[in-house]
Symmetry: C2
Subunit: 291 residues, 2 copies
């Protein structure tokens, strides 16, 4: 099976569960359910669920055990995009080539759609807690990665340091690590935690670096990408004075950094016994991505 | 001990735990921690925690078992106020006599402060899930009450039906039940769930009706209250075309309704063996409140 076929297989498995889940959202008023589903169904690469499925496969963990964790994580990711796109945050009118949630449903409803997705993610995770201690640990890990010492801290730093005149490496590392890498880390560590910590330290490095690589390439694409392919506005980082690798090091050095990190991701996988080919190819896919 | 002394005792016990919790918030950047603590420390009646402590006392449940549930619930309530006060929602510049979160920290940070409180509430609740099945059930109940079939649905309906020309009773009931009563219900049911459902059906009626009574008196105070005592703007419901009891029935009939509901709250407590005097007095306090 080629990399693309395998990717598509994981993505389809996840989207089947997502679609089932969406069909069961029956809350009122209609706009609440619609606004949640709108953003969940905008598509996207589903990189976090795909990573979770792929790592489970390497560890020999049944997909049924992680599907609700993958779903919860995608809900958390989606809520963060909705709130991030709000005018008072990143002020993005487009997401995945379509109007952002608040452009379709209005700002107030977009705030609530985000809240709704976050709350529903925890409804799924608390249900999983009935299955035993390792499930509670996996839920807690996702919660920590998404929270005030994780993604939210990264978003807050991102907002706070907009237009800093004197950007420094530590702040950039903090933003990359928390805003983006933590949720990718959560995706990779969930199967390990459910397997009593199997290859935990290797996967911790792999998850963190893959997350950072993802943000690095995101920032490079904000300079060199194409709106039609990327589905979101280009050049916004510079216009808004965002703290990015490109701002700190320039585009060429950023690309070198991305290569170094991609290499680190690949190497750490050598320590894992099992078929890690797909994960290596995924690293390469992220490094080369144009969307 | 008088009602006021008892109330103050429960409130102090809760605020001791809250203060401990706030001291342990060390997240960066500083504005994230500060904005969370600002809204948590605005004071207020702490009616949900007080109810949870009081019901625990009636059921003979140790306070130590519910203190983190009470904390999580107050975090959820506080996040909902921060998001609700945003210009795109209720657009309130004041909360408890002080500037709203977004007036102090800006809209973007207020969105994140709310997200942070919601996520941290679930961090507390997932930790509790380690203590056994009834703890998972209690966490799930709070999550359901706060979620898309609970408080968020109520907020969404409140927003959707603003300025409806032809208000109807069903919609008003839906808003009251979900926007306000569900979190009050969660406070009252948590101790019962931790006691294997002790007096569940009586407490379910008591919690729901107390919550509705609370919203009814809130709407009456929006007409007849005093800014200095209440700490928030007066007359906003009418100005914003809010769906309230007063809009539907007028102020006098609303007061009669409040009396009927307060009576229902008191009567259902008769079915509970134990000292329910404080809960009855609390119902009376809510009925008569001026803030």
């Amino acid at each position: 099976m080629t990399f693309e076929e395998k990717y598509s297989q994981y993505k389809s498995a996840f989207e089947k569960r997502l679609s089932e889940f969406c069909n069961n959202i029956t809350c009122k008023p209609d706009i609440l359910a619609e606004s949640m589903k709108y953003s969940l169904n905008l598509g996207g690469k589903r990189i976090r669920p795909v990573l979770m499925y792929a790592v489970s496969n390497v560890l020999g963990l049944d997909e049924g055990k992680i599907e609700n964790f993958a779903l919860a994580l995608e809900l958390i990711h989606t809520y963060s995009l909705i709130h991030d796109d709000l005018p008072e945050m990143d002020n993005d009118d487009f997401r995945r080539g379509k109007p952002s949630n608040h452009k379709v449903f209005g700002q107030g409803n977009a705030v609530l759609a985000g809240d709704a997705l976050l709350n529903t993610a925890y409804s799924l995770l608390i249900d999983e807690c009935r299955n035993g201690g390792e499930y509670v640990s996996a839920a807690k890990n996702i919660c920590d990665c998404a929270g005030i010492y994780g993604m939210i801290a990264g978003q807050s730093a991102d907002l706070t340091h907009e237009n800093d005149e004197d950007p420094d490496e530590n702040t950039l590392d903090f933003i990359y690590e928390n805003k983006t890498a933590k949720l990718v880390l959560a995706a990779v560590l969930t199967p390990s935690i459910l397997c009593c910590g199997k290859y935990f330290s290797e996967l911790k490095v792999f998850g963190r670096e893959t997350g950072i690589l993802f943000q690095l390439t995101d920032d490079i694409l904000d300079v060199e990408g194409n709106f039609d392919v990327l589905g979101k506005s280009i050049g916004k980082d510079k216009a808004e004075g965002k703290y990015t690798c490109v701002k700190l090091y320039g585009i060429e050095k950023s690309k070198v950094k991305a290569d170094v990190i991609a290499d680190k991701c690949t190497r750490v996988l050598e320590g894992i016994k099992g078929d890690t080919r797909f994960l290596k190819e995924l690293t390469n896919f992220i490094r080369q991505r144009i969307y």
